[in-house]
């Protein structure tokens, strides 16, 4: 069963201007539920763009996107953000943590606009910190964490709102082999929890790990192979 469907989706940056750039060209994709799908391809192939579109962080130039049964193509930005907040977690290539803030704050922020009770937020935060081994660093600034710890924090943050879908951009880009293996194992756990994962990666380690049930190969904004 497909949880995410993209039909004939095109994304053009700066349309009509001299620096016009077609990032995705009539992509049609189906992401199955409860499984892990990998987007493979070299840099500039459109992986990140595709991830952003699925994450409702930008709108396609044409085509249709349906997520969890809801047509999201023309949603207003407020509702896109709301949807993302309620159903998705995003892990960025460069983590995109607010380094000036403490580990705790970075996590709490996710639920602030939702207005959950203080206890709910604290419970959630504590259980995630424990799971990812960061409980001792709760009050420290995110900037003092090591690369691996920051990665784990980024993943914890993406899980703060208990999303059904996880979107991950190049998770192993800044990690050595040992840490990469850890992260892959983590994703396996999350898949077992029932989450749907979409991972963009050109790391052979990830591709060879057997984590994914489906691999979509992209090049220059088009799909060249689906496995």
């Amino acid at each position: 069963m497909s949880i995410i469907t993209m039909e004939e989706v095109t994304k053009t940056y700066n349309p009509g201007k001299p620096n016009e750039f077609v990032a995705l060209n009539e992509i049609s994709v189906e992401i199955p539920s409860g499984q892990c799908t990998i987007l493979a391809g070299p840099s500039g192939s459109g992986k990140t763009t595709l991830l952003s579109l699925v994450g409702l962080m930008s709108r396609p130039s044409s085509g249709r996107i349906t997520i969890l049964g809801k047509e999201t193509t023309l949603l207003a930005e407020n509702f896109r953000t709301l949807f993302r907040r309620r159903h998705m977690g995003f892990i960025f290539q460069h983590f995109q943590l607010i380094t000036d803030l403490t580990v705790k704050d970075n996590l709490d922020l996710v639920l602030y606009p939702e207005g959950n009770s203080f206890d709910t937020i604290r419970e959630r935060r504590t259980s995630l910190l424990e799971r990812f081994g960061l409980i001792a660093k709760g009050a420290e600034k995110a900037s003092v964490l090591s690369g691996g710890e920051q990665q784990r924090l980024a993943i914890a943050r993406a899980l703060m709102n208990n999303p059904e879908i996880l979107l991950v951009d190049e998770p192993t880009a800044h990690l050595d082999t040992a840490l990469s293996q850890q992260v892959i194992a983590l994703f396996r756990d999350l898949k077992d929890d029932g989450k749907t994962l979409v991972i963009a990666s050109h790391d052979p380690l990830v591709l060879a790990s057997g984590l994914a049930e489906k691999v979509i190969h992209l090049r220059d904004g088009r799909i060249i192979r689906q496995v």
């Binding site: 709108r59 396609p60 130039s61 023309l74 949603l75 207003a76 930005e77 509702f79």
Partner: protein
């Protein structure tokens, strides 16, 4: 022309408000010209962003407008010593033909801004931008009003002539006198006291009923009641609330009890009155919107019920504030004397 720090401050603040509203106006025009909900072009996204800007601007403008109304009254009051015959705000408002129109314009602007925000609140909760075009037109129509407010205000203050003798509240609200103010002041206080109290109590009870089971026609009735309540409330303030606050049956001025000598008590009366009627009428407006856009009903209903609840509470506060001085007087005189029997 009379010049003082207040006039300067008022005009500066008003110009800031008008300037920022002008930005909203420009964006609203763009929206009505180019809006296309089904478009996927970047321009549409840009327009959505601008719609967000307008919402922010109008929200803050409402706050500024509240200030503007209050400061206008204070400014007028501060000028009273310089115009012969003026002893309070009424004197200044009478001194120049634009005085009362500016005041009423400001009050109207307050309510109109507020209702825009109500609509925006609703629009944000429902997908599909149903009300965006309507909101934009609303703002386009509202903007000239704001400009007029600023222009008239400046004209009013620059044409105030300290050499012209004006009449103050004693004359304007004189019981035996002519004119609209006098007619209101000369309404028999027993009738106004009874009438206002009955209406407000009905509204409070009605609001409780509506919370359990609200119907569209019920809300419209409530809205109308609130509108009448506003008018009657102001009449009541002139007719009996003010005299009881001052403990002077012949003094009906609706502004004096806003000042520091009376501990700014007036605000306690006016703010709940305006707020209660505002929310009450808002419920009616939401019904009108529901009829035009049936898909909004579920969300609109929740908001409506909330407004009715607030309105009811505020009417209660107003009741207490308006009748407080009356009750205080009755207690002080042992329930025997009637303020208006003496020399009325």
């Amino acid at each position: 022309m009379i010049w003082n720090a207040w006039v300067l401050g008022l005009i500066i603040g008003q110009m800031a408000t008008a300037a920022i509203t002008a930005v909203a106006f420009a964006n609203a025009i763009r929206i009505v010209r180019n809006w296309d909900t089904n478009s996927m072009l970047p321009m549409q996204l840009d327009l959505e962003h601008r719609s967000e800007l307008i919402a922010t601007i109008v929200s803050w403008s409402l706050l500024f407008q509240v200030f503007s109304l209050i400061v206008f009254e204070i400014t007028a009051r501060s000028l009273a010593p310089f115009v012969p015959g003026a002893m309070c705000t009424v004197g200044i408002l009478e001194a120049q033909p634009l005085g009362w129109p500016v005041l009423f314009l400001k009050m109207a602007a307050l309510f109109l801004y507020g209702w825009w925000i109500v609509l925006n609140h609703l629009d944000n909760r429902v997908e599909g931008f149903l009300l965006t075009i309507f909101k934009s037109w609303y703002l386009i129509v509202l903007f000239p009003l704001i400009l007029t407010d600023l222009a008239l205000q400046i004209a009013f203050f620059t044409h105030l002539d300290p050499a012209v003798i004006t009449s103050c509240c004693g004359v304007v609200f004189e019981v035996e006198g002519e004119g609209f103010g006098s007619s209101v002041a000369s309404l028999p206080p027993n009738y106004t006291m009874g009438g206002l109290a009955s209406l407000v109590i009905i509204l409070v009870v009605f609001s409780i009923m509506l919370r359990r089971r609200s119907t569209q026609s019920g809300c419209i009735a409530y809205a109308s009641g609130s509108g009448i309540g506003l008018v009657l409330g102001i009449a009541g303030i002139v007719s009996f609330v003010a005299p009881y606050v001052y403990m002077m049956p012949a003094l009906h001025c609706p502004f004096i009890f806003l000042d520091e000598e009376h501990f700014n008590y007036g605000y306690l009366v006016y703010v709940p009155l305006f707020a209660a009627s505002f929310f009450g009428i808002s419920a009616g407006i939401l019904v009108a919107v529901e009829r035009r856009f049936p898909s909004l009903v579920t969300v609109s209903h929740t908001i409506k019920v909330q407004y009715v609840r607030w309105s009811g509470l505020l009417w209660l506060v107003f009741l207490a504030a308006a009748y407080g001085p009356v009750i205080k007087f009755w207690i002080a005189t042992g329930g025997k004397a009637d303020l208006f029997q003496v020399g009325y």
